[in-house]
């Protein structure tokens, strides 16, 4: 049996001393397409940042492709699409250049691009449908096209495991469909995909498994859910009814500021 790409057990993360993620167990198998869902502030982005090594675990253990995360060095096996509203920076940059920077995971210092590198970049552009725009500046692209460019960047390193943080946020419907097409191609090639999403939209058909975060813990891990079920207390189970439950109080990670005179 092959080693699982991601194995997290009893993972906890604290940000600035405040516990954000607590006791998370998550396994991602080869070829899985997992949607990490949950409300804002539920910890789904923090979880992805912990899995990619951007946030250290305060306790628990994480192995990536069988290696403890501290010793993990095969970064070319991981493709990361951070949560971004734009792919621009202070200097004009062409789409090709943004995508080519994703190839760094496989390039050695001070070596020019090899033929394989160029082919991978070209292929990544083709998968997200931006071949025609390769020479354009990223700033000329719409938000959805920029998001696709960022996916192509992760793709250029030919990784096996993708982490995508809210790729559909603020993206119009035609671009969401283009994105879904690109992800379907990745899935068909056997890639393992972990996707953070507030709403799945056209991606719903691709998802094999849904993991719902609530308040820093995994609240549900199982068959895909429809968008509206994620926020339902029982994840859409129609047969259980809870009567007289108090409405859940609003709850997030920042302390609520109340003045002494404020009525409770």
């Amino acid at each position: 049996m092959r080693v699982k790409p991601v194995q997290l057990s009893k993972g906890s993360v604290a940000i600035g001393g405040r516990p954000v993620l607590r006791g998370i167990d998550l396994e991602v198998g080869t070829g899985d397409f997992i949607a990490l869902m949950g409300a804002n502030g539920s910890g789904k982005t923090t979880l992805v940042r912990a899995l990619t090594g951007l946030r250290p675990l305060t306790s628990g253990s994480l192995t990536l492709f069988g290696a403890p995360s501290a010793q993990f060095a095969e970064w070319h096996r991981i493709g990361f699409v951070p949560q971004r509203t734009s792919a621009t920076s202070g200097v004009p940059t062409s789409v090709w250049e943004v995508v080519a920077s994703g190839r760094l995971t496989r390039r050695r210092l001070l070596r020019p691009l090899s033929r394989a590198d160029r082919a991978a970049i070209k292929d990544a552009l083709a998968v997200v449908g931006l071949t025609e725009m390769a020479r354009d500046g990223v700033s000329q692209l719409s938000g959805g096209q920029q998001q696709r460019a960022l996916i192509a960047r992760a793709l250029a390193g030919e990784p096996e495991l993708f982490f995508l943080d809210e790729p559909t946020a603020g993206v119009d419907l035609p671009n969401q469909h283009a994105l879904a097409d690109a992800l379907r191609q990745l899935k068909d090639r056997g890639a393992t995909i972990v996707l953070v999403a507030h709403e799945l939209g056209p991606l719903a058909a691709l998802v094999d498994r849904a993991v719902v975060m609530r308040d820093g813990r995994v609240a549900y891990d199982g068959a895909p859910l429809a968008d509206h079920d994620v926020h339902h207390p029982d994840f859409g189970e129609v047969h259980t009814h809870h009567h007289g439950d108090p409405a859940p109080a609003r709850h997030d990670h920042t302390p609520h500021v109340a003045s002494p005179l404020e009525p409770r």
């Binding site: 202070g90 020479r135 035609p174």
Partner: protein, 332 residues
């Protein structure tokens, strides 16, 4: 033209050539990170370095390099640690550097004109050793800045992505800070510490008016920086005898003139680009048809702005979007 045969002038030209090529390399990465003023900050800190050189009798170039590197690394640490008050902390460092420099120069009993050379540049008094040091440091900056451009580009473009790609982001950040400090000291004799940042940033601002790619911006900025510094020096040397024209400010003003000339072209290109951006897919809910006679038929050569819209082209004029439909035009 006789002036260019003098050895001091040839030294100055060499220094200007190398400085002009090297400064925009680091400037491009600073502008990409939206840290265009970092060069100014390092320049201020380097004043203390120069003053320490004057006080101890060591070569001001080397003390400036050391202090500028320390300052740049400190700025980088403050930037990395403090998210909110980073710019205030940087400002404190700038003022400390400048005030410390002026104070120490006073202690060293050096006249203000000695410090002036470093503040505003004195390229024509540069010694042979200083030219060699300048050339070596500039070559180092160019070699590292261009050689490691894929890595430096990725880190400046998106730090989080670069970290997950396995790059040691902190090392590259410090490397850029060190390169910036070295560039500052390299350009110190040419345009002076207070104008150093101009040579790093203005060529980049000019080249990005017309460029659509990072590599294009970097290459053009290097050429523009070189043209400005060599051209500015030549201009000041060719000034009629009796009109004292300082090379440092001439170089900076020439560089700015380049920006002033290019900016309208860039603005026009961007405007044109916006106009020709394809309309979003999907037909309008309802549309009118034109009844008024058109003096001509819309087509590729009619001169109206042609914007792709799904499978056809809309022609834009006088606030209308006209799509050809049989004998008339639909108003999309």
């Amino acid at each position: 033209m006789e002036i260019f045969t003098y050895p001091f002038m040839q030294r100055a030209l060499l220094a200007a050539l190398f400085t002009g090529l090297a400064a925009p390399v680091v400037g491009t990465y600073l502008v990409q990170r939206r840290l265009a003023l970092m060069g100014d900050g390092i320049g201020h800190v380097a004043v203390t370095g120069v003053a320490l050189g004057l006080l101890t009798g060591a070569s001001p170039i080397w003390t400036a390099v050391v202090v500028a590197i320390l300052g740049a690394v400190l700025i980088e640490i403050i930037r990395e640690r403090g998210h909110t008050n980073g710019d205030v902390a940087l400002a404190l460092l700038f003022y400390g550097g400048l005030a410390g420099g002026v104070l120490i120069t006073g202690l060293a009993d050096e006249s203000a004109s000695r410090l002036q050379e470093y503040l505003f540049g004195a390229i024509t008094t540069i010694s042979v050793t200083d030219v060699l040091i300048t050339m070596a440091l500039a070559a180092l900056v160019i070699a590292v800045g261009v050689g490691l451009s894929p890595q430096l580009f990725a880190v400046a473009q998106d730090q989080e992505f670069a970290r997950v790609a396995g790059l040691n982001v902190r090392v590259y950040n410090v490397l850029v800070a060190v390169l910036a400090a070295v560039s500052v000291t390299v350009a110190m004799r040419t345009v002076g510490l207070l104008l150093v940042s101009a040579l790093m940033v203005v060529p980049v601002a000019t080249s990005q008016q017309l460029s659509r790619s990072f590599r294009g911006t970097l290459g053009a900025a290097m050429v523009l920086g070189m043209v400005a510094s060599v051209g500015g020096l030549a201009l000041s040397a060719l000034a009629p005898a009796g009109t004292p024209i300082a090379p440092g400010p001439t170089i900076v003003l020439l560089s700015l003139a380049g920006f002033v000339l290019t900016w309208p072209v860039g603005a026009w290109l961007r405007q044109r680009q916006r106009l020709r951006e394809p309309f979003p897919a999907g037909r309008p809910e309802r549309h009118e048809t034109t009844t008024d006679e058109h003096a001509h038929e819309h087509g590729p050569d009619c001169g109206h702005v042609a914007v792709p819209h799904e499978d056809h082209v809309d022609y834009v004029h006088d606030g209308h979007r006209h799509a050809p439909h049989g004998k008339h035009y639909d108003e999309h």
